[in-house]
Symmetry: C2
Subunit: 579 residues, 2 copies
Amino acid sequence: MPLSAFLFQRALQASQRIPNHSHLLFLFAVSSGGFVTYADAKSENDPKLPQVSTKKRIVVLGTGWAGISFLKNLNAYLYDVQVVSPRNYFTFTPLLPSVTCGMVEARSIVEPIRRIIRKKKGEVTFWDAECLKIDPFNKKIYCNPCAGSNVEGGGEFIVDYDYLVIAVGARVNTFNIPGVLEHCHFLKEIEDARDIRKNVMHCFERASLPNLNDEERQKDLHFVVIGGGPTGVEFAAQLHDFITEDLAGLYPQVKHLVKISLVEAGEHILTMFDKRITEFAEKKFRRDGIEVKTGFQVVNVSDKTITMTSKSAGEASVPYGMAVWSTGIATHPVILNLMKQIGQSERRVLAVDEWLRVCGCEDVYALGDCATTVQRKVMEDISAIFKMADKDNSGILTLKEIQDALKEIYLRYPQVELYMKTKHMTDVVDLVKEAKGEEAKVSAELNIEEFKKALANVDSQVKTLPATAQVAAQQGHYLAQCFNKMKETEDRPEGPIRIRESGRHRFKPFRYKHFAQFAPLGGEQTAAQLPGDWISIGHSTQWLWYSVYASKQVSWRSRMLVIMDWLKRFIYGRDSSCI
Amino acid sequence: MPLSAFLFQRALQASQRIPNHSHLLFLFAVSSGGFVTYADAKSENDPKLPQVSTKKRIVVLGTGWAGISFLKNLNAYLYDVQVVSPRNYFTFTPLLPSVTCGMVEARSIVEPIRRIIRKKKGEVTFWDAECLKIDPFNKKIYCNPCAGSNVEGGGEFIVDYDYLVIAVGARVNTFNIPGVLEHCHFLKEIEDARDIRKNVMHCFERASLPNLNDEERQKDLHFVVIGGGPTGVEFAAQLHDFITEDLAGLYPQVKHLVKISLVEAGEHILTMFDKRITEFAEKKFRRDGIEVKTGFQVVNVSDKTITMTSKSAGEASVPYGMAVWSTGIATHPVILNLMKQIGQSERRVLAVDEWLRVCGCEDVYALGDCATTVQRKVMEDISAIFKMADKDNSGILTLKEIQDALKEIYLRYPQVELYMKTKHMTDVVDLVKEAKGEEAKVSAELNIEEFKKALANVDSQVKTLPATAQVAAQQGHYLAQCFNKMKETEDRPEGPIRIRESGRHRFKPFRYKHFAQFAPLGGEQTAAQLPGDWISIGHSTQWLWYSVYASKQVSWRSRMLVIMDWLKRFIYGRDSSCI
């Protein structure tokens, strides 16, 4: 029995039961038969007739940064909101590396969804379930309960939506390297962090057993971190601190045998940061005794050794005690399935437009790590842009006409503004000069060919947003604002002019604002990349890190707990129990 | 290959390697072949000749209450101490029920062994391993590493001892009832408490899913606690508080469907407590809506239902969401194996004498839940006691002779003192009266037959000590004191007179002092049984509970953390994340 037919049968069964908590109208229109069932989802105790909610139904998939940011900012009075996630809590992921070594406790950085929901006004329902399949044509999602079910058949259920907000995040990408899934630890979920913590201790206990020689002990105490991105680097730094500050005193017989290796396929670690930060980090790690193996590609992981290749050194296998895989993200199966349905099967990542709408279907939005914004290229629309700017239809753009249109162009094509900034152009004249050379001084007018030439390189400035919490949170906030203003903007759209059609877009497109990105390097030292090419490194940045991360907590409860954890660590050190 | 042969081979392999951390001399004398190998367990880096430690080697099995209490009180300068345990931390077990519902965090009630060891002066080594077999005749234990091993063959090893202190605790007793092991949660380890906490949340999430009817939701929210002892009662109370104080607000749609049942085979719950406490607890539970099912015996547990029988109601099956099994303890397999070797195979629990020495072998001690003290009966020694008291060998005991011997008798046979106290006898004359009736007034002398008659019933006062943390801790302290005084007492024994031989026992026998036993009943109410038939119930007792439990923590760190957790709960409630 195919899944959809099975789920349909389950839904039929369900419709014959009498749930008491939901006043939704279940309307099934399964494509195969066009059969319609009508399930009165009302309580037996409720004598009133079923009422069809007039509110539009928003279904949110996921309770990570994007999902929660959307939920917190949404005016839940306006919609019937349902949240579906296999985790009934939000995790403050930037502190996950801190959990691995007991800087903070797992429970301090999570916040139950139902607590967040309770604080909100309006009706929000949470289902602790995993979405198995999205049907964007019939506006349904198929879900499977996470905590199992006492009901025969497993309790799968279907949720209908008017708007779907996909914020399921990404999966770990093993690049199909054999052994990674079986033998490496990951660092995406709270359970991963806990497992790592327990395993670090296991390695030390294992290495302390009798009847081993130094070589065997060294094997147990070789910690390999694969991936020189911010997470991998922070984990390596935290582990180094944990060992030198706490474990060295508790395991004096084996402390000299510990080794941490950081393996990165590229030429440098922290490549997304400024070169100065990269250099500082590499130097600090070398000083700390952390081996930075850049230019090494992992090709195989067995239970006892990791095999890597490098151009200079060829292939080599190193024994290890614990390996943490922290490189690359992949698309969730449920998203891959959706992509197939909507003609995105050629892509690796789900594409959304600048309004976070999934390309190829209606009323589906995707944000956070599970999607990539595809910025409309200037060169695709160049004729239409020219036409829009050429108010007098003369076939020639005057300087004034360009000047007038520039604001609209910036709004719709942010790469133009970015391009001018990068090229240190202060004025539109500079742009015209680019096309006409010194001739611009004489005639500051452009025909279509010259206009094309002027903007020929701007699309090179289109960049994919990084898969960070900051981006996801801003997208969630943006989309919630759009939903909140849905009514008002119907008549008074606030977006840019439609280039190929008439009128305006309803909303401004999403625009990411970079605040700061931190790279904690251990020993109370942190590097930060601030807006405008500013960088900051050292102890003071660590304190900035403490204050930013404390203030960004999702609740006062979390904030208090995280600060208490930091204090606890200052006073008593980190716990070394294998739990 | 049998285990011993396999381990022997492993040990041989090990002897060929060069460990660097231990200066022990490994001397293997396996019974089968009498073959002796001589492994120089010295570091390659150490140029000195191997030195045989002149200190006696104490091996402690287990890091629970008994083991840690022994370790903390032992003068580790006098011995070469090795601790073997599958847990590298001590758990403050009386707070385990609090962990199940998030009153305190798991990490707050554990203390790493290595931290305890570091604080001690003298040499103490810890092995994170499980003892698989004790060989009391060759004074060896066979161990298996817990965290696995990178070494071929699994890394099993052998530890030699001069004195062995067994403090491995007990296992859960399922009484071979089918399904208990598979479907019930237990409450002995920190992992159990965490599992329960996660599962309570799973039950609530499961019951909140769509398409269920009330009956199905009720099933998910039926929490069954089996065992009306202090742990089961406290867990039921904690769960009730968790639900009413925190979860009811987060799961308003299903809160009215929750049910907690407490199943007890006996006539009452908390039977080890005073009747007034039992009555109060049963009344309070009924008022709280906790169903107290006394007189019900569980006979089968399936994944969905629990089957019980009772005299009045016959057999009945009830559906459930989660079941916690908290009744009865059983002996560890390693202890059962030891018992077989030393001729205790007929017994259910390992027998030790009043000095905690395992009966049937030399230099092996057992304390805590893994052993039971077999108190020497007065009637077994009655003739010898008479002879000892009868200083003038007249065949008649005068009142003075009895009076003189009484102190020694009390010391060796505490049941005599207890008997007199229970019978409200203030004087030895009362005891003589018991034998001779009113005649005692005339002649206060006893012949052997009358003496026997006087003491005929005292042995009924011999009671097994309860399997509590209090007993284990006191035994650990007692045994450590004995080991500390081993030298001094060689010439100056401080124990009671040997009744059947000459001289004195080296040490006083272990004597348990009851301080207080608490039964927290939820809603900030606790009952306590204090020494001397005093009982205390109510809010004030809850505060007594808080202060006793805070003060009894094993370290200042734990104390601070536990108090912080209590405060956190007061302010923010308990966390409901499924982690």
